[in-house]
Each structure stands twice: as C-alpha cells, then as structure tokens.
C-alpha cells in the first residue's frame, strides 16, 4: 500500500482552471468528467476549422509549461498542412525536473482533461495518432491513463469518427524506463522510436521532422490540459487571467523549507514573495529565506533580495533566471549553498547522456570539484575553476542539459561566493553539524 497525499495545496488566492476538478469524488471517471464540462471543448473544436483552433490557442498566450515557455499555438502553426508522412501529437509526461511534481496530480485526478487536450491538438494539426510518453516511475499513472483511454474509446471520444465528425484519432501511452534526458523533446522522440534517448540535431525541428520522420507536436501535460478550457472559454478570457504574453494560470510546486508545501494554481505573474509568505505560509520555525530556485533545478537561483518579482516567463528572464517548469524550491538560512550546488551537480552528472563532450566532461568535473569543496579539500582556485567549466559548457551542447547544469552552478558561485570562501578557509562545512531536517 502506497502512502502519500494529494499534493494539491489549498489557498484562497488560487484561480482554478486546470485543477478545478481535482478533489471531486471519482474525478477520473468519464461520467464525472462529462458532468463537469468534460469534452465540451472538443465538441466545440470539431465544429471549428483546424486553423482557427490553432489561432485561438496562439492568441490565448498559452506558453509551454514544460520549461521552455514557447507559445503553444505558434508551435502548432509550424506543422506543415500537407505532409507525405503521418503527423503526430506527443504528450511529454516524462516529468523529472527536480522540484517539479505538477503533472502527476493532473494525470492522477483528471486524465480525461489531458486526453481531451491531446485530441484537440490532433484536430488542430490534422494528426491521427498520438502518444503519451510517461516516465517509467509513474506506472500507476499509466494505469489510470490506460483506463481513461479505454473509456474514451468506448464512448466515441477517441478512435474512428470522433463524435460523428469524421475525424479519426488514436492515442496510446508509452512508458520510459528511467532517464531525465528523455524529457528533452528530440531525445524523447528517439526513445519513442526504441532507441537510446540521445538528442537530435536541430534544425530540422520536430514540427517539421519528428516522430518517424513525420511532423510532430510535442507538448507538456500541463500545456495540453489547458487547451480544452481555452477552446471552450476563448483566447481573451484565458489571456486576461495572466500578464501580457503570459496567458492563463500556472501550477506552482512549492517545496523545500516552506510551511505549506503543495501544488498551487495561481495566475501567471503572481508575485513570488506573496507566493512564499501568503500561499506557502512562510518558512518553518521562524527561519529566514536565503534563496529560491524559481522553476526547477535547471534555473539560476535567486537570492533572498531578488524575490520581489512577478512569476511569469518574461519577468524572470529580465532578472537572469527562468520560470522553467514551475518547481519553486524554498531554501532557508540554515542550508549550506555548497551542498545545494553539490546536490544539483551530482544530478546532472548522473543524468548527462554522454553524447556531447562539454556536458559529459563538464558535469563530472563540476561534481568532482563540489564534492571536494563540501568535503573540505578545495583549493583557492576552485570557485573560478567552477565558473570556467560552467561557462565553457553554456551553449555548446545539442540539448539544454549542459546549460541546465551550468546555469544554476554559475548563479550559486556568483551569488553565494562567501560560502564557498568560508569552506575554503575552514577546511570543513560550517553547516554540517546543524540539522537540516524539517520533516
């Protein structure tokens, strides 16, 4: 028997769009879904021209929730109208960015919302086959999805002649088997073709040459879950929920040293400081804020004096970080930032697929330096050495994993250099004797 709770938080400040059915009894069943506006978006979409669906999504300002933040409707519009090869819709459910746990409840409690979004995307780009690529660890979610897919198929929301429209669309789940790299869209495509998850050279982009060489749209679970609501309620309604060019709401996963950890649906542009203090209830035991990872461990870390920022893609880019995947990790003043850097470096060194040399060598080199730093054996040149390695990885790899390892490391060394120097001076970690556990 597993032992965990629904991670969805509860705050009066939330604006619930994609999370609004979570909490309704039997929310995974098709009947309950239909009683709560289910498949109305699909019905409406099928009465529209595919191009108009694309335009509606584009105008809503919906941007990719997996991390890159590209305008979703724009991504769809790159798919050629005529293609000699079959087109595909692929849902990226390989959620594995450290700090991110939002796709899990979306699938667990509202699988039909995701299925509906995928079928609408299929109609918009005129594809007839889709796959949900789900990480191997999420086996129980795959079972929930498979059950929902069978229900949808039996009732005419999937398969041949959907809702009498003449449109055919088939959808299957596909399990991964443990590889962070497969969350990158071209590595994911290779994995889906039965190969190792190594990234492909871009261009050509997947919208033109993707799965089995056919035009392919790849969107994150949260992105696609928004689509039925946009089609049903209109682009203007969705856009107005957020800030300019950052439409809608966003699932934020508050984790780390925070009183009320949880997944919260908040308007795009919600202020980070209020998110920590009012939504998350502040830090436990009167501790002080030291840093925040704003969107998963690939993002440059924010120091405590940088948290007066609206949480949208453009505002975070302006201060040199990223909104990423919505994983907001709160770090308190009793945490060793060298240990944080080591934790992040270990992860990327472990997950680098080894295809690009700067990433393969750089991640391991950074890990080695940080191990010796935290262990007390660093030399005075090491902080600059770390920066030098990281800067030599940036932009020199096929996929963003190299950047994802370099960016947080650069920010940690630059913003918390005093802690690195202190380790050097003392020859040991000044925090190690203090308990880090708040659980």
């Amino acid at each position: 028997m597993p032992d965990y709770q629904n991670p969805m938080g509860n705050s009066p400040l939330e604006v619930k769009v994609i999370s609004r059915r979570i909490g309704i009894p039997n929310s995974t069943s098709l009947d309950v879904y239909l009683q709560n506006d289910g498949y109305k978006g699909l019905q409406k979409a099928l009465s529209m021209k595919p191009d108009d669906v694309c335009t509606e999504v584009k105008n809503s300002g919906l941007r990719g929730r997996g991390g890159a933040g590209f305008n979703t409707g724009m991504k769809w519009s790159f798919v050629p109208k005529q293609s000699p090869k079959p087109k595909f819709v692929v849902c990226n459910a390989d959620e594995s960015e450290p700090g991110t746990c939002k796709d899990r409840p979306l699938i667990e409690y509202d699988p039909h919302q995701l299925i509906e979004g995928i079928v609408i995307a299929g109609w918009a780009i005129q594809a007839h086959q889709g796959y949900i690529y789900i990480r191997g660890e999420y086996r129980y979610l795959m079972e929930i999805l498979d059950h929902a897919l069978a229900e949808a198929r039996a009732r005419g929301y999937l398969g041949k002649n959907i809702l009498g429209s003449g449109f055919d669309f088939e959808l299957h789940t596909h399990t991964g088997a443990g590889a962070y790299e497969c969350g990158e869209e071209t590595a994911l495509l290779n994995s889906l073709e039965g190969l190792r998850g190594y990234p492909r050279v871009k261009p050509p982009f997947p919208a033109v040459v993707g799965l089995y060489g056919g035009p392919t749209v790849i969107n994150n679970v949260e992105t696609l879950s928004n689509v039925p609501h946009i089609v049903l309620n209109g682009a203007d309604w969705y856009a107005k929920l957020g800030t300019p060019k950052n439409g809608g709401t966003r699932l934020f996963c508050l984790s780390g040293q925070i009183n009320k950890p949880g997944v919260y649906e908040l308007p795009m542009g919600f202020p980070l400081r209020r998110m920590i203090d009012e939504v998350g209830g502040g830090l436990p035991g009167g501790r002080k804020l030291k840093a925040v990872i704003p969107g998963g461990s690939s993002c440059p870390v924010l120091a405590a004096d940088e948290v007066d920022v609206p949480m949208d893609f453009d505002s975070l880019a302006k201060i040199g970080s990223m909104l990423g995947s919505g994983g907001v990790v709160i770090i308190d003043d009793q945490t060793c930032m060298v240990k944080v850097a080591r934790c992040i470096a270990r992860f990327y060194a472990n997950e680098s697929c080894g295809w690009c040399i700067p990433c393969r060598e750089g991640t391991n080199w950074m890990r080695g330096l940080l191990e010796r730093f935290h262990g007390g054996g660093a030399v005075p040149e090491d902080p600059d050495e770390l920066l030098d390695i990281a800067l030599n990885m940036l932009g020199k790899t096929l996929c963003p994993l190299g950047d994802a390892a370099a960016m947080p490391t650069i920010s940690l060394v630059k913003k918390f250099r005093n802690e690195f120097e202190e380790h050097l001076k003392l020859g040991y970690c000044p925090y190690e004797k203090k308990a880090v556990s708040v659980a």
Binding site: P2, Y4, T100, A177, G194, L195, Q257, S297, G327
Partner: protein, 157 residues
C-alpha cells in the same frame, strides 16, 4: 519461458506503433516486472519479435536506469536525495534505510528480500522526503515510518 500473459502484453504493445522497435523499452520493463530482471531469454525474444539484433536491445538496457540484467530485491527501496527532498532530510532517510536494511546503494540483502538505491527526483517534491518501494510512493518519510514499513514487509515474506 515467456508466460502467456507476457506474450499477450507483447502483442498488444507492438500493435501500438507503426515501427515495431518502438515497443522495445515498454516490453523490457513489463518483462522485468514479471521476471524480476531482464533475462537473456527476454532479450532474444524481444529482438526476434521486433526484428532487431539482440545487441540493439542490450543498448537500450544499458541506457535506461530502471532496467537491470541481474535480480534485485523483492522490495526495492528507491530513496530520492534530490534537492527538494534533500532540503527536508533525505540524506538522513537514506542513511536510516541503509542501517535498518544493512545494505548500501545498489546492494541486495542476503535473503534477497530487500534492495536499496539512491534515485533521482521522483516527482514527489511537495511530499519530501520521499521514496518508491517498487512502484509504490511513500512520502513525508520519517525514520519511524520506515521502521514500520520494513517490519510490515518482513512480516509479508
């Protein structure tokens, strides 16, 4: 011997794709779930079914972290030690599991019942520290919760 149920699962998986080899990784994982690891027989059978050379199946096994060529414990403890869990005491949780089970990272207990692994982010960040035992999630872990779980699993055999 590949069981009848697994044979049917293989048929179904292959039918989902225009290219048979797409089914390799799902086939490997489902076979492992049944047998406990990926055996030589499974590799040969999958290669035959999807019309690739056995070495191509082995290439995948070497890449994906969840696939293994040797048996592991009946109950595989996979403790997340990534950032969100680390901030809430995951290192102590891993140490506790290690002490209680008497094994370290990627080791198997002498009776073959338990194995332990330090794993990457499991997508349970808001319930950290967290782990999976096989596919089951356990979150907001404490040493006491782990003791109770190990006692229960030992009793189950």
């Amino acid at each position: 011997m590949i069981s009848e149920a697994l044979n049917k699962k293989f048929d179904e998986l292959i039918s989902h794709y225009p290219l048979k080899r797409s089914a390799i990784v799902p086939m490997l994982l489902f076979a492992q779930d049944e047998i406990g690891y990926v055996s030589e027989e499974v590799i040969q059978e999958i290669a035959r079914r999807v019309e690739v050379r056995p070495i191509e199946v082995e290439e995948d096994i070497g890449y994906y972290a969840m696939l293994h060529r040797e048996p592991i414990g009946k109950y595989n403890f996979q403790v997340c030690t990534n950032i969100s869990c680390m901030l809430r005491g995951a290192d102590e949780i891993f140490e506790h599991c290690s002490k209680k089970l008497g094994i370290g990272h990627r080791q198997i207990s002498a009776d073959g019942r338990f194995s332990l692994e330090e794993v990457e982010c499991l997508g349970a960040c808001c319930g950290g520290p967290a782990m999976q035992v096989n596919y089951d999630y356990y979150e907001n872990l404490t040493p006491a919760k782990i003791d109770a779980l190990i006692a229960r699993l030992r009793g189950k055999g």
